[in-house]
Structures are given as C-alpha cells and as structure tokens.
Amino acid sequence: MAVRKNQATLTAKEKRDFVDAVLQLKKLGRYDAYVSTHNRFIVSDTDNGERTGHRSPSFLPWHRRFLLQFEQDLQSVNPSVTLPYWDWTADRTATAGLWAEDLLGGNGRSGDNRVTTGPFAGTGGQWTITVRPDSRDYLRRSLGTGVAQLPTRAEVESVLAVQTYDAAPWNSSSAGFRNQLEGWRGVNLHNRVHVWVGGLMGTGMSPNDPVFWLHHCFIDKLWAEWQRRHPQQGYLPTTATTNVIALNTTMKPWNDTTPADMLDHTRHYTYDSAF
C-alpha cells in the first residue's frame, strides 16, 4: 500500500524522486493538462450554477480524484513515488525545508516575485509556465504577503470539530465542515494557504506551482481525519440536488467516479500518521 508522507520526513532520495517525476511529466507535456483542467473547473464552478471542483460538497472528493490521477501519472514515471503533504500548521515559515533547493525552491525575489532557486526556478529552463493568466512565463511566489499567517493547529482543530459535512445551499455561503475547510467561511484554511503562498498559487492556474499538490494532499488528509473523528457523519447531500454533486452522482471530468467511490482513501493509499 502506498503511503503518503509528511514532506518534512522525506529522505533526500524521496525528495529527488518526487521532483524528478514532476519535472518528467512537465517535459512530457502531461503536467500542463492538470493546470488547464483545474482552471477550467475553477472558472466555471459558480455559487448559483453547476459546481463540482470548488465551492461545493464535491470540493473534497473531486480533489481526491484529481490528486490520485496525478499521483498515478507520477508513478508511471517512477512507481516508488507518492504525493507528500505539507502540514502548514507545523512548517509555517518561508525558511521551512519545503522551500529548500532540494524540494520546491524558495520564495520569489523582490520586484517581480520570480522564483530563482530550486528545480522549478524560471531560470532553470525546466519549468516554463505555459497555461497562465498573464504574460509572465516564470514561477512566482510571494510567501506571507497576501496574508501574514498560515492557519494554526488550533484553527484546524476547530474546523475538524464541525459535525456536519456540508449544508444547503451547498456553496461558498454554506455552514459545515467542507466550507470551513475550503475557507469561504470561518477561520479560513485551504483558501488562506493559496493566498499565503501567492504568485501563481493565488490564481485559477494554481497547479503551476508544485506546492499545489502538497497543499491539497494535506487538505485530503484533513478530510480523512474528519472522517475518523466523526464516523457517524458522512458526505452530503445524499439525494439528487440541482447543480450539486450528490453522494452517488458522477463527477466531471471523469464521469465514472462518484463521491461515494472516493470516501475510503485506504483503497488507494494511507497516510503516515493521524493529524
């Protein structure tokens, strides 16, 4: 069984294998399809219309499926690779090992926010941004500028304590665990991390920054943790709901996977520890 690990615990070889597999997908032209798909969903998921990838109950199973596909793609390059996760409650500064040269590279430089260190630096020639919102073709970050602080462990605990998975109107105004984890309401977890990283992570093309996968892997782990703590609770809605993915409704773009199919992550991978 594949084990997804905290990035802070990876060996030098595990970091190298992960980075090399990501670079290989980019080189093969397969990486950018993930960026396009994500942006296509994020601009079409609306609060009062059809919504699948974001601002809706299926935010969590959609991203679980999206990450699985990406992880399987990495494994087609190197079968030993699994997605690491970034526990941003613990590794919460720009000097964390996550941002070192042997993993994701560092913060963007002042002036243009261009990342100039690590494997994904625009200067390295291996990471040209092709699916992009504007003319800049290099990876950008601005750690801690858009918002000063990453969520704390106590803030995560407060969201994990929310009993109900989601609630009508099943969008960015909902009460419930999903929307507080996503961040449109409450202490703001997932959205805030995108803003904290800044640069391309703040855009609809956020998978351009490989930290996207490590961030969402931790969000996915927090969903698993919520399930562990609330065994009597489950995905909602369970019955057909206009514009919303119910428990047994298939999700675009795969059209063969329902939230129900995604509830048990241990069919595909486990995590190295509980939160």
């Binding site: 919102p133 969008n171 105004s173 805030r192 855009t203």
Partner: protein
C-alpha cells in the same frame, strides 16, 4: 413625490456603498462612483455589482461595467472588468464579494477593489485573453 423618492434611493445606495455592501438589486439607472480615466475614486467602498468605473490605477486603465445577462461569460458573471482593455475573468460569490482569475482564493468587496488588486498582482504584465 418622485423627486423625494429618488433622493431617498440615492441616499440609501450611498449608505450601502459606504458600508461596503455590494448591491444586488438594480435600482434606477444612476451610476455612482464613476470616475474619469484620471479621476480619483470616491472614498467610499466603491462600485458594487451595478456600478461602472473607469480609472487609471498605478498606470493601468481599469474599467468595470455590468453586462446584459445572456452575454457569454465564464462563470456566468454579469459584470466585465478590463485591465488595459483585456478582460479579467471575475466571479461573484454568494455573499456579494468578488474574485478574479488572478485572485481566486481572496474575496474582495467590490469589482473596483478586485481590479486594483489585479493591477498589483500583475506587476505590469498583460492579461492573456480569456480562452
């Protein structure tokens, strides 16, 4: 008394704008918060979803205006924001706040605030036309 009613409506709108509330109901045709290309915007929170703006912010021309529903738009927004004539993809949240393709996880109170944030984010770069 139509005059008094109109005045009261304007007062109500200004009050709402001052509170930073994005308006949802179309009331009248008055356009508030309108600034010329080199104008200084009002001190209030700025235009809501029914208002128009046109200003130069940090050397970039930003414009915003409602568009008729039915106009083809990603995300179904009935509002267009332009930066130097290029469309910025925007979306309105259920609570009346706004996000754009370059600030997709950080709601702003008004389209004007969103357009200004986009200018800051772009650092002089030009938007790629919406596919």
């Amino acid at each position: 008394m139509p005059e008094a009613g109109h005045h009261a409506e304007l007062t109500r709108r200004r009050m709402l704008q001052g509170a930073g509330v994005a308006l949802t109901a179309a009331v009248g045709t008055a356009v508030l918060g309108l600034a010329g290309p080199t104008g200084t915007p009002a001190a209030a929170a700025g235009p809501g979803g029914n208002d128009t703006f046109d200003e130069v912010y940090r050397d970039r021309r930003i414009q915003g205006r409602p568009v008729a529903s039915g106009h083809h738009h990603h995300g179904g927004a009935d509002y267009t924001v332009l930066v130097d004539g290029e469309e910025l993809h925007v979306m309105r949240n259920a609570d009346g706040t706004w996000i754009s393709v370059v600030n997709h996880y950080q709601p702003h109170q008004t389209p004007l605030a969103l357009a200004r944030a986009a200018v800051v984010e772009l650092q002089g770069a030009t938007l790629v036309p919406i596919a």
